[in-house]
């Protein structure tokens, strides 16, 4: 009897923690969407800010964030995937490999503001790229690399060795094996990781703070060497830096809702790819 009560108590405790977590998430979403959805409209996402950003839309911030994420992906995916292929397929277990792996893990733990400072020193100043969407994208790319490497390596690890042996035994080289069998099989897993990393990068503020994001720009960022507006920074600015904070509050909530929707969309795509892949197996 006492045992039963104990089990019941443990069960309640675990269920309670889970519900609490869900509740917190629910409250956040409720708060943002209930206050923000009233300002989200077609005009809001398709127009420029006007009247000192107290009216109008957030089009440049949306475009900026999309462009930024695109540059980040363009830079981080090839390097990250190549690095993961090297680590998982070629590197023999050795002290060097262990050091490389440990470094990558540690990279993932570095606070994002440090990436921002590093990006400022390397891309903006040393490489003379200036404060631009390119500098910011590369900085975010550096931040994303460890995640892409780790998720890609996990995806590669899930491919059983029997698949590799199949082509090797036919006389395929290791490169052919990776290109023709391992990568195609691992692609859904890699894509999932890439998209989740993109959704993370889209919401980052600190790394872009010194490297290219702007308070306000006139027009749309059209080339990689221009400064840009971004949703997370726009939100930060509207909610803490604006001269009429109370007045722009609905706009801030609206921006938050758009950012969350964007990130959710990416996550749902990732979820869908994973689900589809799982049902195929």
């Amino acid at each position: 009897m006492i045992k039963k009560i104990k089990y019941f108590f443990n069960w309640i405790l675990l269920l309670g923690s889970t519900l609490l977590v869900c509740l917190v998430l629910g409250v956040i979403l409720w708060d943002i969407f209930s206050k923000g959805m009233s300002s989200v409209s077609w005009n809001f996402i398709s127009q420029f800010p006007t009247d000192g950003m107290t009216k109008g839309g957030i089009l440049p911030a949306i475009i900026g964030t999309l462009l930024l994420t695109f540059i980040t992906t363009l830079f981080a995916v090839p390097f990250g995937v190549a690095c993961a292929i090297y680590l998982n397929e070629y590197a023999r277990p050795s002290t060097l490999t262990n050091i490389i792996r440990a470094s990558i893990r540690n990279l993932a733990g570095i606070p994002s503001i440090i990436y921002g400072l590093f990006g400022l020193a390397l891309f903006v100043q040393a490489l003379h790229l200036g404060t631009s969407v390119l500098s910011a994208g590369l900085t975010l790319g550096l931040l994303s690399l460890p995640y892409i490497i780790t998720t890609t390596e996990e995806a590669l690890k899930r491919i059983p060795n029997s698949m590799r042996e199949a082509t090797l035994a036919l006389g395929a080289t290791q490169f052919e094996t990776i290109k023709d069998v391992v990568l195609p099989k691992a692609l859904p897993g890699i894509l999932t990781g890439v998209i989740l990393t993109m959704s993370r990068a889209a919401g980052e503020t600190a790394p872009i703070l010194f490297t290219g994001v702007a308070f306000y720009i006139n027009g749309i960022t059209a080339s990689p060497n221009q400064e840009f507006m971004a949703l997370p920074y726009h939100l930060y600015m509207l909610s803490t830096q604006h001269q009429a904070i109370e007045q722009v509050k609905p706009l801030a909530y609206g921006t938050a809702a758009v950012l969350i929707l964007l990130v959710f969309t990416l996550n749902i795509i990732a979820f869908y790819i994973r689900f589809k892949h799982r049902t195929q197996d």
Partner: protein, 241 residues
Amino acid sequence: MNMFFGKKQILKNINIDFPKNKVTSLIGPSGCGKSTLLRSFNRMHDLSPDARIDGAIKLDNLDIYDKKNSVTEMRKRIGMVFQKPNPLPKSIYDNLSYALNIHKFPKAAIPELIEKALKESYLWEEVKDELKKPAVKLSGGQQQRLCIARTVVLRPEVILMDEPCSALDPISTHKIEELIMQLKENFTIVIVTHNMQQAQRISDKVGFMYLGELIELDTAENIFKNPKQELTKNYVSGHFG
């Protein structure tokens, strides 16, 4: 030949010949090294960083472990079929065309070679109308015959088979055994098996291995009816294993 994984010696003083166009079976209890031996014949241990081999393995005069020789060329001459069917994530047709393409067979000859290999693997009748179907949609037995066809299509000299029936039902097993009996007319076959009845049914020669040593190698009849070694006798009569 000797073989080590790290400091541990897995194969001890193995000396074995495989006669052309015959089926040679390697039998022995789990962990005796028979699969390890088989996988050393086409350098499948290259993937394991701490595997090391002493001595030589030769196909005619080709030293398989000679660094000067191309591994991929060697594997074209020594094919392998694995324990679990492992079709490529491609169509039935592409499972066979893949190897032909990487070895640069003339494009025009490929369809014919594929048809021939599928016929030799007793699979043609079952799949000829759906060659574009993904190979993973086939049944386990069909997949294994596809893996054999994929090996056969390259016209290797030797086919290594690592317990090719252990993941299959009795009917598929029977089909594969018949297939092996057919294939030996054109290929030299080395097969690792757990199943002593199977070894008896299909082999010309049988090697019994125990704890990394080749205890006895003789005709199937002698191994099962008149084994010379006590260990072999105990194993084939089912006293251990």
